[in-house]
């Protein structure tokens, strides 16, 4: 393997592992605020106890997010030095703002939220929880703003030595790419959080333990989940697709496996892209649907990969195609599961429907897969660019860090993260096993 491949794998591996945790942090933060609000409104200690139980899982998850997050900021400098040197004046802004505006907020008030319930009183404790939520969602905003700039660079000028200079701060924060990508991402986090909460609730109901808590968790999870899964598809997913169609047309063609430009282009549901022969094998398609979804006209022309020079094609079309289809496929299934659960909840019979509870419990890992697949779609879709249209990926790497050194640290991270994953699963399992009545 050459150094570039290892540096790319290094970032891909560490960021993929890292993002397993913040998605639950951000989703659960919203649901914790919901539980604390119910406690404040009803004065029922039950909701405070429920919040305390989830706060314990939240704390374990948050710690994992923090310790795996620090390497992300450092890696821009260690592994992608040329990228940092040329673009640091722009993306450093949003990354530094994340530290200043969200990490301080999050970490200070999480300490108070976990250790200070008696000192703060009910309203103060609610506020601490709300500020943790605000901090985590601001953090997401600055990270997505950074990525949005790499996907669709705005507000910059080129300096005398080829460096990229910030020319408009507001253009960076009001990037048209940013709002839909941010909402799509954050609602994806709520999907993870609500499936997680519903799954733990379903588990308690199935094993007939802590059943009142089980009902609360399922109810909150399903109500949040049905809203979030629908919003994931429309409008946020739809609008994000349009962003790609208008600003990264070769990426759209590769995601959809559309090799040839067509009027009335079909939407491929299933199929395997054959990049050598420029075709989709074993396709199952909805005729003309891609044209309609992109341009709202059944006969509109959609540009296929043949409309672009191959050096502008994403460099891993099959991975891009599959991750996109996995994300959309799972997203569709999530809507069906949550809608079904919501109907039974509304009719007041969900808690006795063991089959449906089983389904809710077994769904818990899949939002992680869908969110990960979504990010793989975004990042492999950006290739071959590191900054779309401005800097190609090989130009950004650290020139003096050899393949051997990079492989050494990649192996180190892999070993360390295997240990972390085992510890995380063990501790969360113990918390669920001890149950909400123990806190």
């Amino acid at each position: 393997m050459d150094a570039l491949t290892i540096h790319r794998l290094h970032f891909a591996f560490t960021v993929t592992f890292h993002y397993l945790f913040p998605q639950l942090t951000m989703g659960l933060a919203l649901l914790l605020v919901a539980l604390k609000t119910m406690a404040l409104r009803t004065g029922d200690e039950h909701y405070n106890r429920a919040a305390r139980f989830w706060a314990r899982i939240f704390a374990i998850n948050f710690a994992m997010g923090v310790v795996t997050g620090i390497p992300m900021e450092f890696q821009f400098g260690t592994n992608w030095a040329r990228f940092s040197k040329y673009a640091g004046g722009v993306i450093g802004q949003t990354l530094a703002m994340e530290g200043v505006f969200s990490f301080f907020l999050e970490s200070s008030f999480l300490g108070l939220f976990l250790f200070g319930e008696n000192k703060l009183g009910p309203k103060g404790h609610w506020l601490a929880g709300f500020l943790v939520f605000l901090g985590s969602w601001l953090s997401g905003f600055f990270i997505v703003a950074t990525d949005a700039w790499m996907q669709h660079p705005v507000g910059y000028a080129l300096g005398p030595h080829g460096e990229i200079l910030l020319s408009s701060f507001w253009a960076l924060l009001l990037n048209p790419w940013l709002p839909w990508q941010y909402l799509h991402n954050m609602i994806g986090a709520v999907v993870t959080g609500s499936f997680g909460m519903a799954a733990v609730g379903a588990f308690y109901l199935l094993v007939k333990r802590a059943e009142r808590y089980g009902q609360t968790f399922v109810r909150v999870g399903v109500i949040a989940g049905v809203a979030a899964t629908v919003l994931m598809l429309f409008p946020t997913g739809d609008q994000q697709g349009k962003n790609i169609a208008f600003h990264q047309p070769p990426t759209l063609a590769a995601m959809e496996g559309l090799f040839k430009t067509e009027a009335g282009a079909p939407l491929a549901l299933i199929g395997q892209p054959d990049v050598e022969k420029h075709r989709l094998d074993n396709p199952l398609v909805v005729p003309r649907a891609l044209s309609f979804l992109t341009y709202q006209r059944w006969k509109a022309q959609v540009r296929g990969l043949d409309a672009f020079p191959p050096d502008r094609w994403p460099d891993n079309i099959p991975l891009l195609y599959f991750s996109y289809h996995i994300m959309v496929g799972l997203g569709t299934i999530f809507i069906a599961v949550m809608a079904l659960a919501a109907v039974w909840l509304w009719r007041g019979r969900l808690f006795a429907q063991r089959k449906l509870l089983w389904l809710l419990m077994l769904c818990a890992p899949f939002p992680y897969i869908a969110n990960t697949a979504g990010w793989i779609t975004a990042e492999t879709g950006r290739q071959p660019w590191l900054i779309y249209g401005l800097m190609r990926t090989p130009e950004g790497v650290s020139p003096h860090v050899s393949a051997g050194n990079a492989l050494f640290t990649l192996i180190g991270f892999m070993g360390m993260y295997v240990v972390l994953a085992i510890l995380f699963l063990l501790l969360v399992y113990r918390e669920i096993e001890q149950g909400p009545e123990a806190v």
């Binding site: 640091g88 200043v100 907020l105 200079l165 640290t409």
Partner: protein, 344 residues
């Protein structure tokens, strides 16, 4: 404008070292002073609500360095590739040892994480000291202002150096002694009885180690980095920074029976030493040890003016806000820790 950002980054890093320094130090001394599980818990409780926030200063400092001096961030982080990655591993191990220790009540689980916590804290103090030593000594920057340093070569300090040579090891040992004393004073401040007394004795022992080390690193730094004497010679008002350090060091000993005063003096000592180094190197932020004309300065490493100007507009209110949270958090958890408190 570049100079303002140089000062802001220096202050952020100094605050980081003072704050995370005491919880790193607490990690080092807990192995020495705490004998029972209850005492270990007390030490952990003294940093539990704040260590994570303290570490955020590192991220804020890193982020600020990134956007204000991108060329420095790129060059130093890729050049110190191996030790920085190891720092990340140590930060990971240390973070999870604090958070996970009290989840399982077992005679295997807890002592294991105590040793991980202590070991990672000690190594981090040593790594940070070595990093400071490298910055003062200079690194072999080439014409593109890039370099790559192996971990060690022949332990000399000229030519093809490694991250570790006798000078950087000396600074590392001094950093270890500084943070040990600093952490011991924090533990003494936050605990009572036998534990407090033991922590005070560790702080005193640390101080006697610190005294000759401070003299030694000061003398060696001036000997190997001529920029230092040039800076202090050209702007004698800069002697105020070493004087702060001396005042802190003297105060640590003279006021050692008071409760909060010795901890504040040790903070002053840290700030004085770091600002002295920053003042002495200015305008260099990463000197070259090959050719004094090469090297990164606040001018050739800084981002463009526009970015620095808008950065100021959000950085200052943002940091004031952050300081507000800190004051509030520390006040909420003021006083000695009691074991019956809530929390994990």
């Amino acid at each position: 404008m570049q100079t303002i950002w140089f000062m802001l980054v220096a202050v952020t890093i100094a605050v980081y070292v003072v704050l995370d320094g005491f919880d790193l130090g607490a990690g080092i001394v807990q192995l020495l002073v705490a004998r029972t599980d209850g005492e270990r818990r007390q030490v952990l409780r003294s940093i539990g609500p704040v260590w994570d926030g303290n570490e955020v200063w590192l991220l804020a400092g890193g982020g600020t360095l990134y956007f204000a001096f991108p060329a420095l961030y790129a060059s130093s982080f890729s050049g110190f590739y191996l030790p920085l990655t190891m720092v990340l591993w140590l930060l990971i191990l240390r973070g999870i040892s604090i958070e996970f220790r009290n989840h399982i009540d077992s005679l295997v689980w807890k002592p294991f994480w105590d040793v991980v916590f202590g070991g990672a804290s000690a190594l981090l103090a040593i790594f940070f000291g070595a990093a400071l030593g490298n910055v003062v000594r200079g690194v072999p920057l080439d014409n593109a202002n890039e370099f790559f340093l192996p971990l060690w070569t022949n332990f000399g300090i000229g030519g093809a150096v490694g991250i570790l040579d006798w000078y950087t090891v000396l600074v590392a040992v001094a950093a270890f002694a500084t943070l040990t004393a600093h952490g011991a004073l924090w533990v003494a401040l936050k605990t009572e009885g036998e534990l407090e007394q033991r922590a005070r004795r560790v702080a005193q022992a640390g101080w006697w180690g610190l005294l000759p080390l401070t003299v030694a690193i000061t003398w060696c730094s001036f000997a190997i980095q001529p920029r230092l004497s040039a800076s202090f010679g050209a702007r004698p008002w800069g002697y105020v920074f070493p004087l702060l350090a001396v005042a802190g060091l003297v105060g640590m000993r003279a006021l050692h029976r008071r409760s909060i005063a010795p901890f504040l003096c040790s903070s002053l000592f840290i700030v004085g030493m770091l600002t002295s180094a920053a003042f002495g190197l200015y305008p260099y932020v990463l000197p070259s040890n090959l050719d004094p004309r090469l090297g990164l300065t606040v001018y050739n490493a800084a981002a463009a003016q526009y970015g620095l100007k808008v950065g100021l507009a959000w950085f200052i209110p943002g940091m004031l806000l952050a300081t507000g949270y800190f004051v509030y958090t520390y006040r909420s958890f003021a006083g000695k820790v009691a074991l019956e408190d809530e929390g994990h």
